[in-house]
Amino acid sequence: MKNKEEYLQALQNELRALPAEEQDSAMEYYTDYFNDAGEEHFQEVVEELGSPEKLGSYIRTKFTCVPATQKQNEDKHEDKQHASNKSSFNSQTPEKQASGLNILLVIVLLLLTFPVWGPILLSFLGIVFGLFISFIALGFAGIIGAIALLGAGISLCIASFVAFFTEPLTSILSLGCGIFILGLGILAAVAGIWLCIKLVPRIIRLIVKVCQMPFNKNKKGGQA
C-alpha cells in the first residue's frame, strides 16, 4: 500500500454493501484518522488497521444490519421487548415513547395469547406450590411421627418394667423394642426439625427469587 488515498479508495470499495450513511460515516472517520496520524505514521497505522479488505469486512460485520443496540434504560423490560425489537429498529424517535408503545403492544399480545400460556403458567405455579406444600408437610409429618414414636417407645419401656415381675423374658424383649422405637423417634425428630428449619426457608427464598425474576434486569426471566 503506497499512500493513504489508495488505502481509503480500497476501503471505500469494501464498504459498498453498507447503507450510504454508514459508508460516509466510516470513510469520514478513517480519512480523519489518517490525516491526524500524519504521513510519518502512515505505515504504523496501516500495520495496525490491517489490509483494507480486513478492515472493511470488520466494519461490515458491525454495521450491515445496523442493529439498534439495547439502550441501558430498556434493560428492565428486555425480555418482554424481544418480540417488538424490530419496531424500534434504527428509529430516531425519543426512546420513552417507543418503549411505552412497545410495552402496550406486549400487554395486548400477552392478553390475546392468554389461552396458550395461561394454563402452562398456572400448572407451573401449581407444581411449585404443590412441591412447597409437600416439603412443609414432610417436615410436619416427621415431627408428628417422631412424637408418636417417642410416646410408643416410652410407654413400651414403662410397660416392660411393670411386666418384669410376672414375665421377665417378655418384659426384656419389649424393653428392647421400646428402646429401638425410641431411637427411631429421635431420628425422625431430628429429620423433621431439620426439614422445617433448613429446607423451608430456603424454598421460600427460592420461590421469592423466581417470582422476582421478571422484574429484575436478568435476561433469563421467569414464565410471567
Binding site: A26, D32, Y33, D36, L55
Partner: protein
C-alpha cells in the same frame, strides 16, 4: 437453568446482570471510551481518542470506530465538524444521556469490583 443461576448468585452474591454487562467486551470498552471523551470539555477527535484508549487498554485500532459509531447512534455521543488545516475534523462530545450511561457503569463497576475482590482475596465486608 434458572435454578442454577439463582444458586450462583445466591452463593457468591454477584448480581447476574452486572456479570453479564461488564464481562461482555463491549460494556467495558464503551464505558472507557465514554469516560475518555467526557474528560475533554470541548470534545475530542477519533485519532486522539484511539491513542488515549490505547494508553490504558490493549485494543486494536480498528475496534474503536464501531464503538464510537454505536455510541453515537445510542445518543451517548454527539459529533460536530471543526475546520482545521483546510479540512474538516470530526469531533466527539459526550451527551447528557452518555453521562447517565457512564454513571450507571461506574455504579455497576463498584459492585463488580467488590464481588471479584471478595472471590480473589477473600475480603469479607459487612454483608
Amino acid at each position: 437453568m434458572i435454578f442454577f443461576i439463582i444458586l450462583l448468585t445466591e452463593v457468591y452474591y454477584i448480581p447476574y446482570s452486572i456479570i453479564m454487562k461488564i464481562t461482555t467486551s463491549t460494556g467495558m470498552l464503551d464505558s472507557v471510551v465514554l469516560a475518555i471523551v467526557a474528560l475533554e470539555a470541548d470534545g475530542t477527535y477519533g485519532y486522539k481518542i484511539t491513542q488515549d484508549v490505547r494508553n490504558i487498554m490493549d485494543v486494536s485500532e480498528s475496534t474503536l470506530y464501531p464503538v464510537l459509531r454505536r455510541l453515537q447512534k445510542d445518543n451517548c455521543l454527539d459529533t460536530y465538524d471543526v475546520a482545521i488545516d483546510g479540512r474538516n475534523r470530526r469531533y466527539y462530545k459526550i451527551t447528557s444521556n452518555g453521562m447517565i450511561v457512564l454513571d450507571q457503569f461506574r455504579h455497576d463497576w463498584v459492585l463488580y469490583k467488590k464481588s471479584i475482590d471478595k472471590v480473589l482475596f477473600g475480603v469479607e465486608d459487612e454483608k
